[in-house]
């Protein structure tokens, strides 16, 4: 219930903060439709929060007996950590190096064998680079460290 309420609170802020900011700075013309959508949206979120609290009170005794599945939580946290880890890697070493290194680490640390991890990650690195940089002409972000080394 707490998670649902927190997310509803986030949505409420998503509506209210820009509305307050816009009301102080912008003309009525520019704020008329946002006020309508944001206003109705905020009322609906508040209604939803009240309903969630009511639902939680009805279910509270049942839910108290339910145990948290720590295996699922662990899998989710480890999966999320792997996903988020790619961001600092791209920021530091850029796309060209991140793609093969990240893929290799992902495969290896999740139990794949050396040959498969090496072949898949190096092939993917080459294919991604060839398709995006050479074929589609999309310049890859170089990364902070790479540009520092290049001077």
């Amino acid at each position: 219930m707490l998670g649902r309420l927190l997310f509803a609170g986030f949505i409420l802020l998503y509506f209210i903060v820009p509305l307050i900011n816009g009301t102080l700075e912008l003309s009525t013309d520019a704020m008329l439709f946002p006020w309508f959508i944001g206003g109705v949206g905020s009322i609906l979120v508040l209604w939803d929060m009240v309903e969630e609290v009511k639902k939680a009170r009805r279910k509270s005794s049942k839910e108290a007996k339910q145990r948290i599945d720590f295996e699922k939580v662990k899998a989710f946290l480890s999966g999320s950590a792997w996903i988020l880890a790619i961001l600092p890697m791209i920021y530091l070493i850029g796309f060209a190096f991140t793609i093969p290194i990240y893929l290799f680490l992902c495969f290896k640390f999740n139990g794949e064998k050396w040959p498969l991890s090496l072949i898949l990650s190096s092939m993917a690195g080459i294919i991604f680079y060839f398709v995006f940089v050479h074929f589609l002409r999309i310049p890859f972000y170089g990364g902070l460290l790479t540009s520092f080394i290049k001077g």
């Binding site: 912008l26 946002p34 609906l44 939803d48 309903e51 999966g79 996903i83 790619i86 495969f107």
Partner: protein
């Protein structure tokens, strides 16, 4: 118009377009076979590449990709009892029992025959209906446009699994997200908080990839097991041809399914899953031996598969002629049109009829090729479902990240893609409607523009005109249909 029709239809075979259709078909089949990715996520991942291509080939690629997803989904429904796509679930009911009886090849043949021919029927329906609908949509004015946009969003709201209230909140979040950036009528910079990226407004690609791509990535990273644990059925090639012939043997079931699919597909808001189960139910009700349905009979495969692919022609009709997408995939396709600088809606049929005919031709060609291709390799493709999630997840993640990055070349797009991804994942877990958010975002600017222009030209009571009032009433009836039904039930009980 006939000239435009011929020109548009022939452009499918143009060397600029044909390779993209041929590329879209295997990608669509692959996505259909791999459970967990799905057509909408595939369209979302392909969207970043759309602005780099010419509008015709780009849209043909997306339509080809999406239209054959269902055919691919049928393969795993039959062989593994796992619907590759949610709307292939009805095929499992008889397809898997057929496979267990040793008739996997025949069931697959029926899938390819029924879905391929059904898709072709949908394309023909689209072509025919353009001639009928074009004069009618020319009567639509500014206030009507505004209410059509609202109607479109409200239809998607009711499509979701969660409550209408949560669907409405999602839709409004989407419209609100479109407000960031410069105001479309006054030119004032709005909600930008001193950040230049926000001044330009959010791009469609980070929002769409975040909402549909990232949750798939999270699921793939979290579930490290392979998708299928079922032993694969053996496919005998000779039986595939028997299955295709079965479609003609049970032609009445096929025709009923395709007609239901095209008709329901043309009505925005009717979910694809509903169409396949409705078609299955209709075939069972009108069958001479309804008791055999569910035990593994070929009519139980033909009925949902024919409706499934036929609905795409109908779905394209409402998306292109009214700008109202009937499904999540059509909402994303609408985003693709906007990305290439085209705005589906009443004017679209007059100004770009050639593109409409080209897409109808794509629908026909893609279904034909997919059915033929799958007849040859279907049994072998099912092996893809034994690949573990951790081997697929990192590739999808990299595609999502590069997709978010490549349109503008800004890392901000990647960061906001991750942000919207987190929101999308939480929304899917808490019963919010991600499709409504995306559609609200895509149509938000338009809604505000038509709202502002209607206020200026017709005054604040612009909705007090016959057609807008009808549209408003329909919107309210759709949104509050559950409450209205409950009210009538209560009154009925009270009267008794």
């Amino acid at each position: 118009m006939l000239e435009q029709a011929i020109q548009g239809f022939l452009s499918v075979f143009n060397l600029n377009t044909l390779p993209f259709i041929l590329l879209g078909i295997p990608v669509g089949i692959l996505v259909g076979i791999l459970p967990g990715i799905g057509g909408p996520a595939a369209i979302a991942m392909a969207l970043p590449f759309v602005p780099m291509m010419d509008p015709g080939p780009a849209l043909a690629f997306l339509v080809a990709l999406h239209s054959v997803c269902a055919t691919g989904g049928g393969v795993t429904s039959v062989l593994l009892n796992i619907p590759g796509e949610a709307f292939s679930a009805a095929t499992c009911l008889d397809g898997f029992p057929m496979a267990k009886k040793g008739e996997a090849g025949r069931a697959l043949g029926a899938v390819f025959g029924a879905s391929g021919l059904g898709g072709i029927f949908g394309g023909i329906w689209l072509i025919g209906m353009i001639f009928v609908i074009r004069p009618l949509v020319m009567l639509i004015g500014l206030p009507e446009y505004f209410f059509l946009v609202l109607l479109g969003i409200s239809l998607i709201v009711t499509l979701g699994r969660g409550s209408v209230r949560k669907g409405l909140i999602s839709g409004m979040m989407g419209i609100f997200t479109a407000f960031f950036g410069v105001h479309i009528l006054t030119g004032e910079p709005r909600f930008w908080f001193g950040n230049v990226y926000l001044l330009k407004g959010f791009g469609i690609i980070p929002v769409v990839l975040g909402m549909f791509g990232m949750p798939v990535v999270i699921e793939l990273f979290t579930s490290k097991e392979s998708i299928s644990e079922v032993e694969r059925a053996y496919v005998r090639a000779g039986l595939v041809w028997e299955g295709i012939k079965d479609v003609f043997r049970h032609f009445r079931t096929f025709i009923l399914g395709t007609m239901l699919g095209t008709a329901m597909g043309s009505i925005p808001g009717v979910g694809a899953q509903v169409v396949t189960f409705m078609s299955y139910g209709l075939a069972k009700q009108t069958s001479k031996h309804p008791e055999l349905f569910g035990t593994g009979i070929v009519e139980g495969v033909i009925a949902p598969e024919s409706a499934d692919n036929a609905k795409e022609g109908g779905g394209l009709l409402s998306t292109l002629s009214l700008g109202i997408p009937g499904s999540v995939a059509m909402a994303l396709l609408l985003g693709a049109f906007i990305l290439v600088g085209l705005q589906p809606g009443p004017l679209f049929l007059r100004e770009h009829a050639d593109i409409v005919f080209e897409l109808a031709g794509t629908l026909i060609l893609a279904n034909l090729i997919a059915a033929a291709l799958l007849s040859l390799v279907a049994g072998k493709l099912a092996i893809l479902t034994y690949v573990r999630g951790i081997l697929v997840g990192p590739f999808v993640l990299i595609l999502v990240i590069i997709g978010a990055y490549c349109q503008t070349g800004e890392m901000w797009d990647v960061l906001f893609g991750f942000g919207f991804g987190a929101i999308g994942y939480i929304m899917s877990k808490f019963g919010y409607n991600r499709a409504a958010l995306v559609l609200g975002f895509i149509l938000g600017d338009l809604a505000e523009k038509y709202f502002g222009l209607s206020m200026r030209t017709h005054g604040p009571l612009f909705f007090l005109r016959p057609f807008p009032l009808v549209l408003l009433t329909i919107t309210i009836l759709i949104l509050f249909s559950d409450q209205i039904k409950a009210l009538f039930k209560r009154r009925g009980k009270h009267a008794r």
